[in-house]
Amino acid sequence: MKEYVKYIGKRIIAMIPILLIVSFAIFFLLRLSSTDEAAVIIGERQATDELKARVTQEYGLDKPELIRYFDWLKGVVVGDFGKDYDSGQDIGELISSRIPVTLGLVLISSALGLTFAIILGVISALHRNKPLDTGISLVMLFFCSVPSFLVSVLVLLILTKFIPGYSFIGTYNNFGEFLQRISVPAVIMALNQLALLGRVTRSSMVSQLQAPYIVTANAKGLTDKDITYKHAFHNAVIPVLTVAGMSFANAIGGTVLIEQIFSLPGIGGLLVSAVQGGNYPVVQILVMFMLIVYLIMSLIVDVLYVVVDPRVKLQ
């Protein structure tokens, strides 16, 4: 147990340089573009020279880029995320109310997707080339190739046609409504993850069931149940975990779209409008936030990896 804590600590420390490099890269990438930041801040107000000078002064736009980056970094470290160019609101406040939706979508869909992917993948592999397998494989092929935002669009279309009274989009007031709002999009995202991971589970399970050690287990006279679950399944899960990390990354990107489509008050809509409008402080913070979520999820995957595969050592 102690070594796990040590490992996790080490990994968290190792995240710091990645976060620094990425934040640095993003900061300068965004400044590469020709967008006039002062104009973005001024927005629809009358762009007088005086206002422009005030804005430039207030947001420190005239300072060299490198100094601006370190100012920004200093702020982030002490919890001051800067101001939204659109509303002048504090970004920390702006996003904190939007985090539950995004995090809820990512976590619920990943958990659902991984669980059902493993169950269905194994069932499919055990019924290899039988009708049940063909059926499951076809469904998985569908959800794997059709991006979840398309599925959402179609589901939305169907839901509004057939259950007109059901409110599944827009803001929420209490926890019950929160669950109601995110249930449909979470399931859609889960289906996408399920398809990808389920296909990996199936093919991994199929190849493990053909491995030589399965013949040995069979020669030992073990029951099919033991051979399938104690031997093949344990080995088959390992590659699934590797892909799970990737699938979580997709989910984090995917929530941006899904929130947009279902008009959910998550950070996705914010990110899209910030990218469109050149609202760079918001883009920076949101991307960093999603990156941290992703890094933590991939850390969890890596720890699971060590638990499942004795050949991988903590280092």
Binding site: L29, S145, V146, L154, Q276, V283
Partner: protein, 307 residues
């Protein structure tokens, strides 16, 4: 005996299975109609006609109806296909031209260069791909070409990693040793000898990538970050359709189906290539079916003999 050997061979790697044929035909039709879009399209896709706004589908003159400002959806869908597919090909071309050589050189020579590039890739891959695309589009400014370049950059590390891992397994093969002992140059070994051995696996991946590039670009366009009006690709059509969700759902369904069918067909086709490369995934005939087939071919042969 000789005839027998031949028969076995044709029974061995069957490439043209039913799913491959069906998906291949669909892809061919989509490609052909995209290429000939300007010829087939009954209207100018950008011509507005306010008198015919929001025509229902299957009405006279407009096969799939028209949008809010009276543009013919069928024509727009065809030209959108052209844009979507062309952009996807550009994206994949970018990843191939940039990613494959980097991956091959890294995998072949290894060492410090490899370490450095892989370290950079690891950081790039640490960012979820759609997010990276957003940031890049934000940096380049929204528009078709920044979208294409952004997605190209997103796909490049993955392609490079694939090429690298493939070349690393090939590198230790005996024929490479043989080439080295013959004193061939590294470039010759890499591109003349190793490349043909890994190209099939990569092609399977690139087919898949074209499919996902179409949907990724559609995603950017849907969010208003990719193709800009009045030009249309499937993503912008989808976006326009979304706003007409209640008035004329065909505007939404048609581009959605177009993306869906293309994506599925690409996946099925790529699955077919993969199954052809990897015999372990091939479906095994049963004894009963095999005997039936044998019997059939034998009766055929004897019928031929009788004739």
């Amino acid at each position: 005996m000789k005839a027998n050997v031949k028969k076995r061979k044709s029974n061995n790697g069957v490439f043209f299975t039913l799913p491959v044929i069906v998906s291949g035909v669909i892809l061919f039709l989509i490609l052909a109609s995209a290429l000939l879009a300007k010829v087939i399209a009954p209207y100018d896709p950008e011509a507005t006609d306010y008198s015919a706004s929001l025509t229902r589908a299957f009405s006279a003159g407009h096969l799939l109806g028209t949008d809010k400002i009276g543009r013919d959806l069928f024509s727009r869908l065809l030209c959108g296909a052209q844009t979507s597919i062309f952009n996807a090909i550009l994206i994949v071309a970018f990843e191939v031209i940039v990613g494959v050589p980097i991956g091959m050189v890294c995998g072949y020579f290894g060492g410090r260069l490899d370490d450095l590039v892989m370290r950079v890739w690891d950081v790039v891959c640490a960012i979820p791909s759609l997010l990276l695309a957003f940031v890049l589009v934000a940096a380049f400014g929204k528009g078709t070409y920044s979208g294409v370049i952004a997605l190209g950059i997103v796909y490049t590390p993955l392609t490079a990693k694939l090429a690298r891992s493939l070349i690393m397994t090939e590198k230790s093969a005996v024929y490479v040793e043989a080439c080295k002992s013959l004193g061939y140059s590294h470039a010759r070994i890499m591109f003349v000898h190793i490349l043909p051995n890994i190209v099939t696996t990569m092609i399977a991946q690139f087919t898949l990538d074209i499919g996902s590039a179409i949907t990724a670009m559609a995603t950017l366009s849907y969010l208003g970050l990719g193709v800009q009006a009045p030009k249309a690709d499937w993503g912008t059509l989808l976006k326009d359709g979304m706003s007409m969700l209640y008035l004329n759902p065909v505007l939404l369904i048609a581009p959605a189906l177009a993306i869906m069918i293309t994506a599925i067909a690409v996946n099925v086709f790529s699955d077919g290539i993969q199954a052809y490369i990897d015999p372990g995934q091939r479906k095994m005939p049963t004894f009963k079916k095999y005997r039936k087939k044998l019997l059939k071919s034998e009766t055929l042969k004897s019928a031929e003999g009788a004739a």
